[in-house]
Amino acid sequence: MKINSAVKLGTVATFAAVLLAACGSSSNSSSQASKQTLNWMESSALPSMDLSTATDVVSGETMNNTGEGLLRFGKKSTTHPGVAKSYKVSKDGKTYTFNLRKSNWSNGDKVTAKDFVYAWQRTVNPKTASQYAYMYAPVKNANEIMKSQKPVSSLGIKAEGDYKVVVTLTQATDYFPALVASPMFFPQNQSVVDKYGKKYAANAKSNVYNGPFKLTYWTGTSDNWTLSKNTKYWNAKNVKLKKINFKAVKDPQTSLSQFQSGKLDATYLSGQQPKNYKNDKQYVERKGASTFYIEMNQRKDSMMKNKKARQALSLAINRKQFVNKVLADGSSEAKGLVSTGLMSYKGKDFNTASAVPEATDHDLAKAQKLWKEALKETGRSNYNLTLMADDTPAGKNTLEFVQSQWSKLDNIKVTTQSLPFKTRLSRSENGQFQAVVSGWGADYPDAISFLEMFTKTNSYNRGKWLNTEYDNDIKAADGKDANNEAARWTDLVDAQKTLMKDQGIIPLYQQGKSQLVKSNVKGVIYFPTGANWDFSHAYISK
């Protein structure tokens, strides 16, 4: 989703850990406070509740708590049974058969297989103009339908009776269960959509819910909205919160004051606040799934084409100092393009497996040497470099810091350019830059969500870094090894190693966010991609 919110989930879709371990042992009723109301802060208003067209994090988070897909995200982004009580995957990994449980919408209607077929078709329908429909790409015929080349009914999802959903994919897709657990793949009740027409999901009343909570107050434009426990939810007996009051507080100082005066149970920190509250016992850091990195324009510039020059620029940056002293907001050093914690295999994190220390470890002496060689090889005595970034506080911090680090190299003159997001983006797309700070957030918990960007033909490869070995690895991961977890893992790990060894990009930091949360708020589940929060097992302790 938006760059500052991405989701990681474990890709192994086991149903072993059925009801979330997240409930924990301490959640018995004797430790619960009598008033189960949570006051939660958001930094912007809720703009949409339409599962097909919503694009932002606040909507995703609210919908994840008012709805439920075939599967549901739990702790550490693992998937758990949702409306589907079990599922089977065919040997070739292309067919998923989901067995649905008997459950109801908040208006009493039955949740059936048809609701899923309808919702999925509605989202990919080009008439719906969904900005996230591309997430459906793995589903058979989705790409053709989005381009109006095939009828909507040809989408690879079928209802067999009321309680069985069969999904056909174009090719085996390791992260498909994670997709199915995100709000974009939740069911929708056709009779309700038809009944309200244009007004569907435009306020709390013109919608139905099949999740742990239902939306009971929201005018469609209000800064406050309220979720109440949905008694029709199949697992309602395990939902402890009676009410969640969401409040959009746009000024960070105001929300901190609201938190201190007890009006809010949680608040996000920004600016200088994380530094001031780092040692507070209510301080919590949340790792995101987005990475910020520098792309170098390798179309013409012989210096940017020079590997040694790129390496020198990377080694000259002291990332540790940057995240701890400058940003100091819960962000961490990036050791590669893929965010840490996004994907793991046999207990090993992707970035541990693909680490290339000689590409990211701060080493000014080595950088100096490489830089001199690069200047010599390209026949220059000095080099002028302009670094471009967003005009956000973080963007400006990045510019100042990287400029100071690069200026330690000999015979370099670094200038900076700070632009509004959309201008920066269009210049990046048109190749009008020397070096640019870009950010990317994973849409789903798989390394491919990051790595596919830097293949030869991908439009996100704005610096036009080209490497055949890399392209072949990505192709194999998406093609011949798609259904072979071990081989695919190796392909992806090799790809990131290649990207780092050749210094196709310079990774900077992985974004994190920091919060203050009242210590009596328990059982809130966080996952870094997409919807971020699950309150279905949260409660207020005594």
């Binding site: 703009p47 429909a133 201008t423």
Partner: protein
């Protein structure tokens, strides 16, 4: 009077039309797109979405379609709040903004007149110095700084007023004070200067000589004449409050339209930008119309019909 009003309303519509036209074309020059997920969409996906929203048409066609809609009262659908018509988005959020703006204006101007009058009557005493200092502070401290101070000391520390959010009248006190400071200071300064002038004029001396009471002179002769220049600054003050409210609404988490204005520009939310521009320019035109009418009431020498009698 009726003829004058009709003429002014005609000009008002003409002004709005020009504002719509200029804003529409300027807005289309903004870099970027209204898409919230632009970084992740391919060119063909963007083209497809544009088609659904009618953004693929030439700008002049979009302009004509917008005008045709606006005449019928259809201002389009917001891009940020994807299911909400702009007219609903604005009408549901304009209440708090208007309430705070009006309260700040009324409070500021009335207190300003009193403070200014006291300053003038007690010229060159400690009371005068105090009012001067207060008005200088009021003018030089921006409303958002005052808002934060009020919020911290009266809200968080003293606990007399809610820190933020929107409920009953009590929630409006701090934002009203924060926004009202500038109009208070401005009008106090104007009234004082003008009244000092008026108080030393011959007809006041005459009134004194006739043996009229001090309060009578102040109220009937001095104050009324001192208010004329004040009316001149009511227009600019209203603009000041409108722009100030954008920040103050954010600080106090007021569900108004101020924040939407900035946000809609940043997100290229074209229908909302247009809707808000129309509302703001309409309000400004109305304020100016009211000031012109007030002129005629306060100062009989100014005849709004234009015919010297």
């Amino acid at each position: 009077m009726a003829k004058y009003l009709a003429k002014r309303i005609f000009y008002l519509i003409l002004t709005l039309f020009i504002v719509i036209t200029v804003t529409f074309f300027l807005m289309k020059l903004l870099p970027g797109t209204p898409l919230t997920n632009q970084a992740k969409l391919s060119k063909s996906q963007i083209a497809l979405i544009y088609q659904q929203y009618g953004l693929d048409k030439p700008v002049w066609q979009q302009y004509l379609l917008y005008l045709a809609g606006a005449v019928k009262g259809n201002f389009g659908t917001s891009f940020q709040f994807s299911d909400q018509p702009v007219s609903y988005l604005l009408s549901s959020r304009i209440g708090p903004s208007l309430q705070i703006g009006l309260q700040a204006m009324i409070l500021g101007v009335i207190l300003g007149i009193i403070v200014g009058a006291i300053g003038a009557m007690k010229q060159n005493t400690w009371a005068d110095t105090t009012t001067t200092v207060v008005s200088i502070l009021g003018i030089s401290i921006p409303s958002f700084v005052l808002a934060v101070l009020l919020q911290y000391y009266l809200g968080l520390k003293a606990g007399w007023f809610p820190i933020a959010e929107w409920g009953g009248f009590i929630y409006t006190v701090l934002p009203t004070l924060a926004l009202g400071a500038t109009p208070l200071a401005e009008s106090a300064r104007f009234v004082r200067t003008e009244m000092v002038d008026v108080l030393s004029s011959d007809y006041i001396e005459l009134a004194k000589a006739k043996g009229l009471s001090r309060m009578g002179i102040i109220y009937h002769h001095a104050l009324r004449n001192s208010l004329i220049p004040l009316i001149t600054i009511v227009g600019p003050l209203a603009v000041n409050i409108m722009t100030g409210s954008m920040v103050v609404e954010n600080i106090f988490s007021i569900p108004g339209i101020g924040e939407q204005f900035v946000k809609s520009v940043l997100t290229n939310d074209y229908p909302t930008i247009m809707g808000l521009t129309i509302i703001y320019s309409f309000m400004l035109c109305v304020v100016l119309l009211i000031t012109d009418i007030l002129y005629g009431i306060v100062d009989p020498r100014i005849r709004i019909t234009g015919k010297a009698n």
